[in-house]
Symmetry: D2
Subunit: 325 residues, 4 copies
């Protein structure tokens, strides 16, 4: 095990609140351990194009509380090719980098896994995505902020829904994963939640609206973006068709879910994992995502971490069932 | 002029944050002047259906800071008919009401104007709408809250737009009126603003994107819902077509703009106008909307107040021109 | 084990955001299991005085997102006496109550423990306190909201501190427990954290300020209310004395930490534990606090739960050490 | 009138949210008019010490929405001396500056007035202070943000006050001026407001608490920092003494009132006045503060603008009287 002297750090894929806090933690803990840090802009694309620059503690002043990522992010088609990865490796060698911290989600770690198999470059991952869909950590950085943004929006929608006795179909992010919809549905008092992982589809929803309390002033239906029943507009259409007596509206929350100041938990999580990532490189870890499981730092090989944990918490589904009475 | 002893209060049309603060001010100032208050639910519809109930200061405890309207609101087809208005009047007489406070926007005041011409019932209006499109008041109740909700959302969108170097077309509410888009565009540092009242259409926007700074990381284009160029999706389509190099996204902010805790200014405005409405009825006013112009209470006949003030502030348009450089 | 038919629910001690969400979950899940619910106002005091009333799902409409507690809370001197507890028991019997859900902190559970030893009345506890100082749950209801309120305040203080190059001593709640100060200190990028559980006292702080980076524009020192070095004002006095060159200010955040809308996590936690509390009574549990440990429902005898877990997370202390470089 | 080619911009005195938006507007509108901009750090102190640097549109990227001031601020003893002002003037000449934009409050404009009388240097002022105590503008930049921060805090305090049936004495900023206390008192539903400008002192408050509704769950008393009855703690002491039956608490909101993201209105106001300040210098204005009166740009000589407008809005005082019934 050679000593790590200079590491590169980058963000890749969809951005999430808390990525800046993670970058700050990487830079500051590297400083603590006398390791130099090179920032890489725009993920793998910037790595290939040589968008690298030296960072010190001043580079990360006052970013802890900012949404987005100061290193910018993106997806890279070029890095999917062997040639792209070779160019990237050449840049790392050219800049004397002997370890990488990759902040992102499953796409990012897939890339890192392939790269790590081809070249002798230790890479560790920091889970930054609002989807909370990675195996190997209880929570991903950005998830807590995103779910608070959602409930803040749904609280506002509830105000107007109540005033008009309306039904709102609210679509939240989460691609193949209903974890955002599930927790925010509970927290918003949603009358129904439609997520890919549960059996509840549109038929079940329509039945629920039929048998549920008719005296309730408003109804909120939370829908995960990735549901296979056709999206919020399609669901809204069916509800309107079957229940013309309801004043039904659709709201797609969209990209506000990706931004904003990170919550306390996301900042603490990003700080912990950022420090642990630098320590992991020092300790010889590679090809692993760093996470927090049961309040302890955990290490999960990339090939496992990117397997979405689709097993949704059945206890939470039960809570929905009981409380939406 | 007979003395007012019992007034009715209701909210009608689209809800807006601060309507509750206005209801509270009406009830409490009526109490101060020893006037009884009857709450009417769901606007003109509830008036026709007899959804009336006595209110006292306890009825309005702890609502000052709540979005929505505790009296609920709605539009009434029935009230557009002479028969509907007769039924409404009968209910008012039956409950001994000798004055009305109508909280809402232009539809509400149009109804009140017709009603006031047919029956001997003094009605005064309180401007509650997020659109700020009424003549006779500098600001309507709810506008300040709505524009803060918008910039909070756009700040979040800017975080993710910056991280990805994206163009976002953001659609805000405002029907035939671009006042929400205009102020929030300035406050969000939007690169372009498309509103019905200005000449700036899609052609102008495309030119602007062409000649503007190409080094800017992200661009925000604010679009008023009521624009006649086809809505945010259509604009987004044209931008994508002409600038395939940009990563362009569309975000429709939607109903979150109607909810939420009212801002300080909206609560103060609602409190002032609520008190002034009761005092106006006591002083013999009728068929007038109460507003605040240049920090003084103003009285505007309904037939004038409902004429949208389309003359957008040209000074604000100049600010956009200068600052979006 | 007799079947539970009618339960009482109350909040006691200091209030915390999410108590309303817990009350709602208790009432709704009781309805789900066909159990009647009696609300008890003002904690043990109201129990003694007979402030009991029947609750149904409408009683808890629209409270999920509200801070405070609709049942009100307080401390009771009378309940500390055998006579007071007898009066309380008589009231419960009179109202046909055969199980109790007590929402509160250690004082509440101490009372419940004593009461449960004297009378045959099953009591289960729901951990509602911002302090997160109870044994038997990873988090208490209200803690997540409180730490977000703190970082929101400290972000604002940082804005003005940076503009003036100032040192701020910020005091947060937490009595004998530094968990609020610790997490918010990390999340706010505090330059130092003074908590009862760590060795770091004023001497250490002064040394830190001396040896730390002198080029930083501002410095934030987080202090837990319960620290034994004399409170924020005393610490501020010492810093001013030793570092007259710093423009030093003190800020006591105070009671804003107890209020506000609960965060998503607090609402979910309150919902889960509220449901579990009703199910626990049905299943014959008594004298236990319900919590969530490692994402699973846990049951901890009152006599254990009230033993503060003073073992602060040493990993978090290390993070402070590394990141405040 | 010579043409302005290069201007200096600085912030001075207490910081306020929106100062960054004003700096941005100055820099961008200067660019629009082909005027160079020199930023001056730390107000008059930095001017004397030569802390000047060239700014372009990139210098002000992404600051529109940030609290604080990127130029930093402070008070300067040296500038109060003729020698200090001579040093400052020399620096301006050395950097080829032929016009100044001073962003701050009355202290800042007093300095500018004296400087403008001694040296041939056009200076215009931008009103940046949370106090709203300047003559010549309806609102100062930062006031709207500060009052929203206050009501957000008091809403939280109300949550816990209601839960415990408590009286809270809440002290807000405002030195010799009760405008923050007055509007936030109305907006928070305060039961009493104590400000320097009104006759209402402690005696009046005690009477009010005696005769007011005893059935209200909680009472909020807003106190302006600058009141001459001894501050919130002294008032709290007297209330406790006279009303031992009340559970009375004191909360000093403090420096959170100076920070945070500016509201929409503050961003728009700062943008308008920032642009107008540059245009004023171009048009030959000097020794004037730029403001907005009745939605139009106004120009007020420094010697007038710094005379606090103590005439509090009597209409607002009446509203308090009526609504706190």
């Amino acid at each position: 095990m050679t000593q790590i002297k200079r590491i590169g750090v980058f963000t890749s894929g969809g951005d999430s609140p808390g990525m800046n806090a993670a970058i700050r933690a990487v830079v500051r803990s590297a400083k603590y351990y006398n390791i130099e840090v090179i920032g890489i802009r725009r993920g793998y694309e910037g790595m290939i194009n040589g968008e690298l620059f030296a960072m010190d503690v001043k580079s990360v002043a006052n970013i802890l509380q900012r949404g987005g990522t100061m290193l910018k992010t993106g997806r890279s088609e070029q890095f999917r090719t062997a040639e792209g990865r070779r160019l990237a490796y050449d840049q790392l060698v050219k800049h004397g980098i002997d370890g990488l911290v990759a902040i992102g989600g499953d796409g990012t770690f897939n890339g890192a896994r392939i790269f790590g198999a081809e070249y002798d470059m230790p890479v560790v991952g920091v889970p930054g995505t609002i989807d909370n869909d990675l195996f190997g950590t209880d929570f991903t950085i950005g998830y807590d902020t995103a779910i608070n943004t959602v409930i803040d929006a749904v609280d506002k929608i509830r105000d107007t829904a109540e005033s008009h006795n309306r039904v709102f179909i609210v679509e939240v992010m989460g691609r193949d994963c209903g974890l955002i919809a599930l927790r925010t549905g509970i927290a918003s008092g949603a009358e129904a939640i439609i997520i890919p992982e549960s059996k509840q589809g549109t038929a079940e929803l329509l039945k629920r609206l039929e048998t549920g309390r008719q005296d309730k002033a408003s109804k909120i239906v939370m829908v995960a973006e990735g549901d296979d029943v056709g999206g919020a507009f399609e669901i809204g259409r069916k509800v309107k068709e079957k229940f013309p007596q309801y004043d039904t509206r659709v709201s797609i929350l969209g990209h506000i879910q990706r931004g904003g100041k990170p919550t306390c938990m996301d900042r603490v999580l990003a700080s912990r994992i950022g420090v642990a990532a630098v320590e992991a490189l020092r300790d010889g870890h590679r090809n692993e995502m760093i996470g927090v499981i049961h309040n302890e730092i955990s290490y999960t090989p990339f090939e496992l971490s990117t397997k979405h944990h689709n097993e949704i918490n059945n206890n939470l589904l039960r809570i929905v069932e009981i409380l939406s009475i």
